[in-house]
């Protein structure tokens, strides 16, 4: 009996338990005399709550059992199976054991026709029978738990029993658990970043990583190569990231985003605004890989041709400018929607006061609205920067891989995210400094965007409070 079937059967039984609890609750509510009678308060909880209470108490322990078996079951079975292999040929190292079990699993699922290892074929049969027995035991235990929980819960139903409160409490814990999943996952990701970075920093000093100006991790591929230690000075990557994401992209996005926000909030008739604003925000929904195509196939060649026409014969087709321009376009909706919020939050009275002084609309925008909305706008820009420096697809497709410290925007630079992709794609060993350096880069990126986001949100929040 597979676990999924056990799971479904339990759910079905749960529905039954709900129906039983509900009907008992309904019977109590309509019973004459003795606390019944249908008045509010004569029965504490509505029938649905009685049903939900019984179902919850019956299901929760049984499902927990099945879920934990699903998590550890295969490991336990694998122990048994490996123990059954004759001592002489039994796999000893961790690596051999996992290879052996992979083979067994392959045979069991039918992905493999025959094993390389004769032991595996025997083991596969054992695996199937062991799993069957264990699942049967788990199923029986779950059923017993279900029955016990259900009967106990059912026996507790009384007119004055507070089923509603119990169910509400269970709902609260369910919600807490769901939000914990997201938080714990994030925490886990960060921990793995920190852990892998720590391994990286055992072979490369953090000082060299953060201040070195030469980046050539590829040389570390083969141990017999000259300079096999590689060079892990990440400054060119940080520079490229800032050059593209925080400088070129922002030169594009800040004026365009701000001006479209000003048009939309101050000039556009409400009909125009109604259509234009969502249209602009639609830009934010375009997959970044599409921007990447656009950058690599349309903008980059145009930028190169332009550079050549300026006399730069060595202009590269992968330029900081092409990636930055397209990234700037991509960021416009972020800047404009934050600026839009900030401008709309400036009280109408402020605008009226200025207009009533005889100021024109553009004077009002320039002298009153933008200064008043500045903190909100700055916050929006910071969020946009943090988004731009974490952006990957556009730079992977258009910025190039050359780790140059270069301020000529027509030259090729590389960014942190581009390098992470380059370091981790293809078959890699996950213990060379080369691949580990990707985690260190990721950690730096994470820390920078985190700081930017926290700061930006606090700026925006403080500013919101000022007008409330």
């Amino acid at each position: 009996m597979p676990l999924s079937l056990i799971f479904l059967v339990l759910l079905g039984l749960g529905l039954g338990a709900f129906a039983l609890g509900r009907s008992k609750g309904a019977a109590m509510a309509s019973a004459p005399g003795a606390g019944g009678g249908g008045r509010i308060g004569s029965v504490h909880s509505r029938p649905n709550y009685h049903g939900a209470f019984v179902a919850l108490v019956a299901l929760a322990p049984a499902l927990l059992l099945v879920a934990s078996w699903a998590a550890v079951g295969d490991g336990v079975i694998a122990e048994r199976v490996i123990a059954s292999v004759p001592e002489a040929t039994r796999p000893a190292t961790e690596l051999d054991r996992s290879a052996f079990m992979n083979e067994v699993q392959g045979l069991v699922s039918g992905d493999m026709e025959a094993g390389f290892n004769p032991d595996a074929e025997v083991a596969a049969k054992l695996f199937v029978t062991t799993r069957g027995t264990y699942n049967l035991i788990v199923g029986a235990l779950a059923a017993a738990l279900f029955a016990m929980g259900g009967l106990w819960a059912f026996s507790r139903l009384r007119p004055q029993f507070r089923a509603r409160n119990s169910v509400e409490r269970a709902v609260k814990w369910l919600l807490v658990a769901s939000s914990l999943v997201a938080i714990l996952t994030t925490f886990g990701i960060v921990m793995s970043l920190v852990f892998e970075s720590f391994r990286f920093f055992q072979s490369v000093s953090p000082v060299e990583f953060l201040t070195g100006t030469t980046w050539s991790p590829q040389t570390a591929m083969r141990a017999d190569q000259v300079g096999s230690s590689g060079a892990f000075g990440a400054v060119p990557l940080f520079w490229g990231t800032i050059f593209i994401g925080a400088i070129i992209a922002m030169v594009v996005a800040i004026p365009l985003g701000l001006m479209s926000a000003i048009y939309l909030t101050q000039y556009a008739p409400s009909q125009v605004r109604r259509y234009l604003k969502p249209l602009l925000e639609l830009l934010a929904g375009v997959p970044t890989v599409v921007y990447g195509f656009f950058a690599a196939l349309t903008v980059a060649p145009a930028v190169r041709d332009f550079a050549v026409s300026l006399g730069m014969t060595d202009a590269s087709s992968e330029s900081a400018l092409a990636a930055g321009l397209v990234m700037g376009i991509m960021i416009i909706p972020f800047v404009s929607s934050m600026a839009d919020d900030a401008l709309t939050a400036v009280p109408q009275a402020m605008r009226d006061g200025s207009l009533a002084m005889g100021a024109t609309r553009s004077e009002t925008v320039r002298r009153v609205l933008v200064p008043a909305a500045l903190p909100g706008i700055v916050g929006g820009v910071l969020l946009a920067i943090s988004r731009a420096i974490g952006e990957t697809m556009i730079v992977v497709m258009a910025a190039g891989l050359a780790a140059n410290l270069e301020i000529n925007p027509f030259k090729s630079v590389t960014t942190v995210t581009t390098q992470i992709v380059a370091l981790l794609t293809g078959d890699q060993e996950f213990d060379s400094p080369k691949t580990l350096s990707a985690f260190a880069l990721g950690l730096v990126l994470f820390v920078i965007t985190l700081i930017l986001n926290i700061y930006a949100l606090s700026v925006v929040k403080k500013y919101r409070e000022a007008y409330e």
């Binding site: 409400s270 009280p347 009226d352 207009l355 009533a356 002084m357 005889g358």
Partner: protein, 261 residues
């Protein structure tokens, strides 16, 4: 009630003839005509929603900023139609200033709040000029002694009453001919209100002043002319003393004696 006010006022500054205002399809003001005197304070009274603010905002074309608003009829400043090409809206608003119900100083320094209008209209040739304008305006608004040592502080950090006087000072900094005030004291306590009323009294004669108020005593105290509005029409217009002691219309009497909301 006749279409035109029967009692003409001395030295008419602004005139309105058959002014109607629509918000979309809804008519908020129905064919109102009035003459506003240069020397007097004119009060607009009437129950909430009767169109006082709407009418007031016609005099400096602030209704232009409301997308759905449409104004019909004729409004003249010194005989020139405010909608005519000779009267640019920027110039109109420099000549007809406005003070709002809620004090709305800009989030700038006290000095910059006052200097805002003169800068926009290019009234000061030098820094000394501007300093003079700022000081003069604050003095006329009776605020100079309170703020002269903290001109660089933010205008929004003052008390509500001070903010409202700052807004009045800001309005007079461009030396307008008319000042429109829409319930300028409704957000203030009695003491701050008394100060504003005193100020209005001092400004009378120098500027034509139109004030909207819900406070009957205030209208009686500060104004010489009173117009009573009801449901988008002007019911009665005349000397304040007459309106308050011997109104011609029973609706006016009911409102003034508090028998009508």
């Amino acid at each position: 009630m006749s279409d035109y006010p029967s009692n003409t006022v001395p030295e008419t500054k602004m005139t309105a003839r058959n002014v109607s205002v629509f918000y979309g399809a809804k008519q908020a003001l129905k064919s109102v005509s009035i003459d506003v005197s240069r020397e007097h304070v004119t009060a607009f009274i009437g129950p909430s929603g009767c169109g006082k603010s709407t009418f007031l905002r016609c005099f400096n074309r602030m209704n232009d900023t409301v997308e759905s608003a449409r104004v019909e009829g004729e409004i003249k400043l010194d005989g020139t139609d405010v909608y005519s090409p000779e009267m640019d809206v920027v110039q109109l608003r420099a000549r007809v200033g406005m003070v709002f119900q809620k004090p709305n100083p800009f989030p700038k320094s006290i000095y910059e709040n006052i200097a805002y209008g003169p800068r926009i209209h290019g009234l000061a040739r030098s820094k000394a000029d501007m300093d003079g304008i700022v000081e003069g305006s604050l003095r006329r608004a009776g605020l100079w002694d309170e703020v002269k040592d903290r001109l660089a502080e933010s205008g929004t950090a003052m008390s509500g009453g001070q903010q409202q006087r700052l807004c009045i000072a800001r309005a007079i900094a461009v030396d307008p001919e008319v000042i429109l005030m829409d319930e300028p004291c409704s957000a203030l306590d009695p003491i701050a209100t008394a100060k504003i009323e005193e100020l209005i009294d001092e400004l009378r004669g120098r500027y034509a002043i139109v004030i909207v108020t819900h406070n009957m005593q205030q209208a009686a105290r500060v104004s010489q002319k009173t117009a009573f509005f009801h449901l988008g029409t002007m019911v009665e217009y005349g000397d304040t003393s007459t309106i308050f002691t011997n109104p011609a219309e029973s609706r006016t009497k009911d409102y003034i004696t508090g028998r009508y909301g």
